[in-house]
């Protein structure tokens, strides 16, 4: 049975190993939750995506907000053995 710290670490590793987050960005932990049955960890990260560079033709306010937009990814891990069950994008 893996605990919180290991669930977070394995989730981040899964995202990086599968190239699902850009290498040059700073990833932040948003949430980590074990389901009510104690079987699945869901760990959510967010990051500023450098690929979402605002178009210079956009207005000042839109560019400012686009530069702050975050991408969210959630990793589901089986608590019993720490294996990855799935990774998905989360729309916020």
């Amino acid at each position: 049975m893996i605990e919180l710290k290991e669930a977070v670490s394995k989730s981040l590793e899964a995202l990086k190993n599968n190239a699902l987050i850009p290498e040059e960005t700073t990833v932040e932990l948003e949430e980590a939750e074990l389901d009510d049955n104690g079987k699945i960890w869901t760990v959510t990260f967010s990051y500023l995506d450098p690929q979402q560079d605002p178009d210079s033709g956009y207005g000042r306010n839109l560019r400012a907000i686009m530069a702050k937009r975050r991408t969210y990814k959630a990793v589901r891990i089986i608590a019993a053995d720490g294996s990855i069950r799935g990774i998905k994008s989360v729309h916020v």
């Binding site: 948003e30 967010s46 956009y58 207005g59 000042r60 306010n61 839109l62 400012a64 907000i65 686009m66 702050k68 937009r69 975050r70 729309h91 916020v92």
Partner: protein, 164 residues
Amino acid sequence: MSNAAIRSLFTGSGSRSLLLDSNLLLLWITAQYNLRLLATFKRVQMFTQEDALLLAWIIDQFDAVVTTAHVVTEASNLGNSLSSNSRHGWFTALSEFSTTTLEETHPLNALASCEEFIRFGVTDCALTDLSSKYQVLTTDHRLSNYACELGMQVLNFNDLRQMI
């Protein structure tokens, strides 16, 4: 924003000012401060990052954003429910907004004589009064439907969201 229908709604808006209702001002200040709050701040959880982008695009179509004392008070009261960690940054963003906006004020007795006062209350009554001067953007369908029937310059943000 590439949607032609939305673009057409704002054609020629470049010399006009936009007046946001309380919920949209709250979204705007929150987006300026920290988009991550859209996931956790109960008062703006009905909005997404895409909504913040749409609002930013709409604001860019106008010369300026104006507000009213009533709208700012409502937004401030809602912002006050943030945790102490976020409150400082949020109110700093509101303070920065105050340096770029024009604030309209209405005496209560002037609003009380308007037909919309009893129907909508103080804040929205002032918005309808100002719709002859500014483009009003609201999330309140009751207000926008009423205003639309009377030919006022009031658009509903939720309608625009659905056009994308």
